[in-house]
Point group: C2
């Protein structure tokens, strides 16, 4: 059961001028479900991406990087679910290229103007015949109103589609920001998430757009974890079509940049948090705030040490305030000169630990009360400096094991 | 259910001259179970220890280090289960010191000649009244034949006691090596395991003994993981009483060192592997061999990336040859310049992957056959150099979640 997450209301998803979406039920892995997505972009859209750092990254990730480097502009994105096309060697690369060539033929552009994405089982070949047969079906459905169907078409073990939309006024002109994402397991994005696509009809110069993409990823998808496993296929793509007709934002000094950045970050954070709320087997949504760190890197190490500890995660699942496990995780974060007597721990507003041990006023029933909730904030103060970070994660439940033991069957 | 592990046969456990053991049912956490262990050592025993690197290390770990540094010799060890005395601040330190003082009074030695150990729940105070009341009971039972009871007295979530014994001939004289260990969860020793005690009546000079201890720990307890959580209380103690009457081994050139090292390592590896076989919820015993690494550190990073991946561990639990998850974990180990096309993967004798993808001769049914077994070897060749390592781990099952969600209740 996802934690405080519902399916997006299709009527609340704003179309983005310059983006059309179409889908097919191609039967990639199982018949009768949307599993192929095509996106057509207006010419001149600024498109930037951040990708997984997993060294076994998937064939489509290689091809995406290659096509973005080619600099011919991006006119289409093609996404399949059911098969990751990762750990597939040279034939996997050939399959990704063939997919791009076929999309280019259908839409009348160049193959290097197409970005391919895959998600699903690793080390199995793409069923190319079914995939190619699905492409014309998806192309026929291309229309600006199809964001809700697009969010469905990229799901794997997600129990709900994830889509977020927001309008933002830039100096009197309203533009829209709409994004979709998928992912529930193998989630510990390092540069990006499983798959995320966010588009706006604002106009932003390409170099500035790439910087903005990295910044948004760093404060949203790069701050979540379900199980600590970085996927082979993580990709986050930000698209600025410019189809609103506004004069392009080309400088950091432009006053329209701040509200646009804020809207992009709000959409990205909501999508990233939706992935955690729908994390495999999740029953709780945990926010981990680390403050008073010597550096942002150090703050992140402590936050992830807590977020990845199976013992901390099972204690959350059990609503058991076995909070010494959090202290053990902090001690485990690899900070050689950490002084345990300076560390403070809060659970929501409850002061749990200080001076290297339990706070004298801490009462088990207060911890118990917080642990019973579905949304919990862990706050750790390290007493070392002024850096801080926030990471979002979920608990580890029976259901996580069931889902991942049964995934292929 | 532990994987191919049975309770030690008490009659097969050899007493070690110079070591006496006694226990009590002190009711530290629950009544009616052995939870307190006392060990008395002959004067002049060489005693060396390696301890957790967790910065929230427990009070008894601080006191152990302090007493070993004092260099007055070690005459007794005292171990309680049920409470870790970690995350307990200044009062925890005082409790550990009080325990040592009381043992010293009972046995007629100095408090600094006593090493204290605790294991159990973190961030709760030691029940000192019950603990102190149990000490005279344990002292009355001191006898060389009590290794089996000692192994029981240090258990927490272990389903079976762990004890291993071996006789070894050193230049015509036979000495014995006997050890006990405990641990099933929060197991990713970094310098040592949860609790391990290995004793021999061989005579070895103290400096050489400390080196031997670090070497043995590095190739046994420091090569296992259940859940990646390094405990606050990890301690491994090696004891050479010298009570066999042999002339001490004082130099690396001594021909008796090699067979003694071999016996110590064999006992330590069996105990370490017993911890994995009895890992919380374990249904499989997995050996991970990484070869052709550029360095031993790199080999260990890859091995632990595989061993800690929840997706790999749940696939083993399901007997599902979803082996792309292993490639993803290899790609995830943080080796920036890894060339995925050079990596090879074997499951037992089955060649699964090469050239960055699935081996053309690999058949799913072969992978399935290996995955169904209870003992599986994963072998990864990195194609980067001549370093290698071996790590032992287990799978991640429903039972792990159940045990850790219910631990305190």
């Amino acid at each position: 059961m996802p934690v405080n997450l519902t399916a997006p209301n299709p009527t609340a998803l704003l179309p983005v001028a310059g983006v059309e979406l179409g889908w097919a039920e191609a039967g990639i892995r199982k018949p009768g479900r949307k599993d192929l997505l095509l996106m057509r972009l207006a010419a001149c859209a600024s498109v930037a991406g951040v990708f997984t750092r997993n060294r076994f990254c998937a064939a489509p990730v290689w091809v995406c990087r290659e096509h973005l480097r080619a600099g011919r502009g991006v006119r289409a994105l093609v996404v399949n679910t059911g098969c990751a096309n990762a750990g597939t060697g040279a034939s996997g690369l050939a399959d990704a290229r063939t997919t791009c060539a076929e999309v280019a033929r259908l839409l009348g552009c160049e193959a290097t103007q197409v970005l391919p994405f895959s998600t699903g089982v690793i080390m199995e070949p793409l069923p190319m015949e079914r995939l190619l047969a699905g492409l014309p079906v998806a192309a026929q459905r291309l229309a600006p109103a199809h964001w809700a169907e697009a969010a469905e078409a990229i799901m794997t073990t997600d129990t709900l589609p994830k889509a977020v939309s927001q309008a933002v006024a830039l100096d009197g002109q309203t533009v829209t920001v709409t994004g979709i994402a998928k992912g529930a397991g193998m989630i510990r994005p390092d540069m990006a998430t499983m798959l995320g696509f966010i588009a706006t009809d604002a106009a932003v110069a390409p170099a500035l757009w790439q910087d903005l993409t990295a910044e948004v990823a760093g404060a949203s998808f790069n701050r979540i974890t379900v199980d600590g496993d970085t996927s082979t296929n993580d990709s986050l793509i930000l698209i600025a079509t410019g189809a609103s007709g506004m004069a392009p934002i080309a400088s950091c000094e432009d006053a329209r940049l701040a509200p646009l950045r804020e809207a992009l970050l709000a959409v990205a954070q909501k999508l990233a948090q939706a992935i955690v709320r729908d994390g495999e087997g999740a029953t709780k949504f945990i926010t981990i705030v680390v403050e008073e760190a010597a550096s942002a890197t150090e703050a992140a190490r402590v936050a992830y040490a807590i977020a990845h500890s199976p013992l901390v995660k099972t204690a959350f699942y059990a609503s058991d305030p076995n909070l010494g496990r959090i202290l053990a995780a902090v001690g485990n974060a690899g900070i050689e000169d950490l002084d345990a007597t300076k560390v403070q721990l809060y659970l929501n507003e409850v002061w749990v630990a200080r001076d290297g041990g339990r706070h004298p006023d801490y009462r088990e029933e207060d911890g118990q009360r917080v642990m019973r909730g579905a949304e919990i904030t862990v706050r750790v103060l390290l007493g070392r400096g002024g850096a801080s970070t926030t990471v979002w994660t979920c608990d580890l439940s029976h259901e996580y094991v069931r889902i991942n033991a049964d995934y292929r069957s």
